[in-house]
């Protein structure tokens, strides 16, 4: 580990300003909704959770399309080849049956957005309602309604694991400790809702789809397949994208409809999702039950873990990952950063009449960390061991470590980050303060959560899940033009992460030019190599690695050419400050002259080939970043309200390419984790109607609710990624719910309350206090 010992000349490791910012702070950003269109559409959505469509009656003279009009457009059918996955079809417009409130049943086309919305309101729908299924536990109960006839038991994916000898270890344990937790349903809530603009070009007969997405290339593949056109006839552009957090990585039927309409109408057609649509019909997340049991020895060693994961996946499976991503990741990563050799898990994904679930920042790990870390605190109490000591006793400390599920953990600092966080907290001082506060009826609590974040994984990790589409690798095309400017074209698709800046820093170090002379192009399938986009804390690691490899190739060629032009040995050439220099001499050439020679004097370097364009790909096995979150809260026992007094993150994401950007990711992740822990919840009533349809009901936190976040870095320079960086985009969201709930439980320990449901709203805390019988 090292803390910020970077070469002074290196661009990597410096908090340079982002190249993304100048346009965004002056109103020159370009988002999907900024484009004008010839026609606008509005989707007519099901007002009920479950039913059979009897009649769809548009007003006279209106242009309205329904499922029967979408000739030849196939339904979305995500596929997984393992874990008893049952493929189900997701029609672009509801085809005879509606399966969740908000499902699109018809699309209105009009000259303006207002007109389209007016018409949509006048479309008469007659739907014969059938009993809806809302809750995951109800879905596996006797006599549950069936959502898809292909899955009569409502279970569409099921994984089981049990290590050999598990039962003997379990039977020999001194203590069995259990938690039964629930994460309610969240919406990732990018501030820019979905939007799409599909334009038909009569000359080329191509359609250009500009849309708010994290995965432009996969959108092209999927939509071309479903509409029945070659991929070359579709260009997908992800312009500035106003946040994604996972919600914009999955394919949405609305985008498919737009491309089909543009082709049919031979013009440009646009749709902008409104916030209500986003809250009811764009992808939801979390909504899981986890029952977790730990078998401990008398001295506090975790000997075995047994988990039951039940994930509500909503009405349809998401493309490309499938809905299996949540339960299967939970199954693979439940033991987290702890050394435990005996493990059993039963993980299921069940369909219900609710909005489809898709990955959201952290994917299953906020929930499993919540389960595991509340289990550790409960075990500490049961065994009368200090919770920090219990973790010290069980955290992984030797590397590489192969987990009970076969994951290989590279070098990390689980113990060290926890010690850092704990030292910053001053636990003895806090305990004294806590005791004093209680005397005056104030309840302070301290909670910690340690976790591992598997990041930057390539095809092997996805292949292990049996995904029909196995993402993982990234390609980067990198060229220096004759004027000495560099362009890196990437398949990743950042939308706020500052990747253009961090990749420019990587290239700058290789080629010895200022990052301002390097542009990174992304989000346009006509301009960039095929790739999988930005998700799963992968881009700095994977696109970063491919960028480094491509930059090294271009560097190698520049060095060769410069050596010949300067009549020196290649080993004597160094590239820095925009020049190729002969070491230890005053001989140099501006890099522009070397670049020009590569193009215009190629006859001198026939063995090297003309130009300065190189391609590289990278497909790593993956790495694990880690962190410990430590929180102090105060719970108002009168109202059930929680105030966060202090929030500490001690984290290790390997080499930090741009510490400012890395810390921004942590801040944002923690804020979303706090939202998950205390505030945000999509609420369905018993009929499957959503009650939280505005931001005033859904309660995303404001500057009032998010505290200052104190960050401590360690940098374990992993050998498992090319840049020695580990991803960290999701970590903030992973640790926060567990740490906060542990802190609440600590605060409320005089009442012997253990909150097991997030968000821990004032109502839930108040109800728990009343049920405790120890509070009045």
């Amino acid at each position: 580990m090292s803390a910020h010992h970077h070469d002074i000349k290196s661009w990597v490791g410096r908090s340079i300003r982002r190249v993304e910012d100048p346009a965004l702070i002056t109103g020159r950003g370009r988002f999907t909704g900024d484009l004008a269109a010839q026609r606008w559409v509005s989707f007519v959505r099901s007002p009920v959770a479950s039913g059979r469509i009897k009649r769809i009656a548009p007003p006279p003279g209106a242009t309205v399309m329904t499922a029967s009009d979408l000739n030849g457009v196939k339904p979305i059918r995500p596929m997984l080849h393992k874990f008893n996955y049952i493929p189900i079809c997701h029609p672009i417009l509801a085809d005879g049956v509606v399966r969740f409130m908000g499902e699109p049943v018809a699309v209105v086309i009009a000259d303006t957005e207002e007109e389209a919305e007016d018409i949509a309101e006048k479309v008469e729908l007659e739907i014969e309602e059938t009993p809806p299924l809302i809750d995951a536990r109800a879905a596996i109960g006797d006599g549950a309604p069936i959502v898809h006839h292909e899955a009569p038991a409502n279970v569409i994916v099921e994984g089981r694991v049990k290590t050999p000898g598990f039962d003997e270890v379990w039977a020999g344990a001194a203590h069995i400790v259990s938690v039964d937790i629930r994460s309610r349903r969240q919406n990732a809530l990018p501030l820019e809702p979905r939007g799409a603009h599909a334009a038909f070009d009569p000359m080329s007969e191509r359609v250009t789809l500009t849309c708010s997405t994290q995965m432009p290339h996969l959108m092209r593949t999927a939509i071309a397949d479903l509409v029945g056109i070659p991929e070359s006839d579709l260009r997908v552009i992800a312009p500035d994208v106003g946040g994604g957090f996972g919600q914009k990585m999955s394919l949405t039927p609305e985008y498919v409809a737009l491309v089909w309409l543009a082709k049919q109408l031979r013009m440009s057609v646009a749709w902008t999702e409104d916030r209500r649509e986003n809250l009811i019909a764009c992808f939801h997340s979390r909504d899981q039950y986890v029952t977790l049991q730990g078998a401990f020895s008398a001295d506090g060693k975790l000997m075995a873990l047994s988990a039951d994961v039940l994930a509500n996946i909503g009405a349809y499976s998401c493309f490309p990952t499938t809905c299996a991503v949540e339960p299967l990741m939970a199954m693979a990563e439940m033991p987290g950063p702890y050394d435990v050799r005996a493990y059993a898990c039963h993980a299921r994904g069940v369909v219900t009449n609710t909005c489809p679930i898709a990955p959201y920042r952290g994917v299953s790990r906020p929930v499993i960390t919540f389960a595991l870390e509340t289990l550790m605190d409960k075990a500490a109490k049961t065994l009368s061991i200090d919770p920090v000591d219990l973790r010290r006793h069980n955290l992984i400390t030797t590397f590489p470590y192969t987990s009970a599920t076969g994951l290989v953990f590279d070098d990390a600092s689980y113990r060290e980050t926890m010690e850092l966080a704990v030292a910053a907290l001053d636990i003895p001082g806090f305990r004294h303060r806590q005791g004093e506060a209680r005397k005056s009826g104030r309840y302070l609590g301290l909670g910690i959560a340690t976790f591992s974040e598997r990041t930057g994984y390539g095809t092997p990790a996805f292949a292990a899940r049996g995904m029909e589409i196995t993402p993982g690798w990234e390609v980067v095309d990198l060229s220096m033009d004759p004027s000495g400017r560099v362009e890196a074209r990437i398949g990743a698709s950042p939308h706020g992460q500052g990747l253009r800046t961090t990749l420019a820093q990587i290239v700058a170090d290789q080629i010895g030019i200022d990052p301002s002379k390097i542009s990174v192009v992304h989000g346009d399938t006509d301009r960039t190599p095929y790739g999988f986009g930005t998700f799963a804390s992968r881009s700095a690691v994977i696109a970063g690695g491919a960028t480094l490899l491509a930059a090294r190739k271009v560097r190698g060629k520049l060095v060769q050419i410069a050596a010949r032009l300067l009549e020196a040995d290649a080993a004597e050439i160094e590239l820095e400050d925009g020049a190729a220099k002969v070491k230890g001499t005053n001989r140099f050439l501006p890099i522009e002259q070397v670049a020009r020679a590569a193009y215009h004097k190629a006859h001198l370097f026939t063995d090297l080939g003309p130009g300065l364009s190189e391609t590289a790909s990278y497909d790593p096995a993956g790495t694990f970043s880690n962190a410990c979150h430590a929180v102090i809260v105060e719970v108002d026992v009168g109202t059930g309200g929680v105030k966060i007094e202090r929030y500490i993150v001690a984290e290790d994401a390997g080499r930090l390419i741009n510490p400012m950007i890395a810390e921004g990711q942590i801040h944002g992740g923690v804020a979303q984790g706090i939202a998950n822990a205390l505030y945000e919840e999509i609420v369905y009533d018993d009929t499957g109607n959503i009650l939280t349809t505005t931001l005033a009901d859904y309660l995303p936190p404001t500057s009032h609710e998010i505290p200052a976040i104190e960050i401590h870095h360690l940098e374990t320079l992993t050998g498992d990624t090319l840049t020695q960086a580990k991803g960290l985009g999701e970590g903030g969201a992973i640790g926060a719910p567990a740490a906060i709930i542990n802190a609440i439980n600590d605060a409320l320990s005089p009442f012997e309350i253990s909150m097991s449901e997030i968000p821990a709203t004032p109502q839930r805390i108040h109800a728990a206090l009343q049920q405790s019988g120890k509070w009045s």
């Binding site: 702070i25 500035d240 801040h667």
Partner: protein, 161 residues
């Protein structure tokens, strides 16, 4: 359909006059973006909650999604496009860059206009009141800390100018 008769409206945006003809129900946000082509003002909820559409009207921050264009007839409107003057960034814009006060940038124009309006009226605003004011708008990326830092930095700079 219920398309109603259009009315003539004059919007003065960043000192430039836009004579437009809109339905009475057209929101100011839509008029600024679509009729006047100033797309820097963003729309995040249309319920008046997120504040992405915040603009200054006669110097005061307002949710342009909650106003009709006709209500802003003849008033001086300022949007993010008018913040930088003569190619020089406004201190708030510079501070947002320096403090990493933005990630995806979608909420940024709204926060910039909110903060501009507040600091022009209350240059000595306390830290506590500032957090209170900034809680008017939503950001999903930054966790707010760097936005607060940026506005404090700009406030200091604007006071010393």
């Amino acid at each position: 359909m219920v398309v109603t008769k259009k009315v003539d409206v004059t919007l003065i945006i960043n000192g430039q006059t836009h004579n437009i003809s809109v339905e009475p129900r057209r929101t100011l946000a839509d008029a600024i973006r679509e009729d006047c082509g100033q797309t820097g003002t963003h729309i995040g909820c249309e319920h008046g909650v997120c504040g992405a559409c915040t603009v200054l009207i006669d110097g005061a921050p307002a949710r342009s999604c909650l106003m009709f264009a006709v209500q802003a007839d003849g008033k001086a409107i300022r949007t993010v496009e008018g913040l930088a003057e003569g190619g020089k960034l406004h201190p708030l814009q510079q501070a947002f860059m320096d403090c990493h006060g933005l990630q995806c940038g979608f909420c940024t124009p709204g926060f910039l206009m909110l903060a501009t309006g507040v600091l022009e009226r209350e240059p000595d605003i306390s830290d506590e009141d500032l957090i209170d004011v900034l809680s008017s708008n939503l950001c999903r990326c930054t966790g707010y800390q760097n936005i607060i830092k940026a506005v404090r930095m700009a406030a200091e700079q604007m006071r010393s100018n």
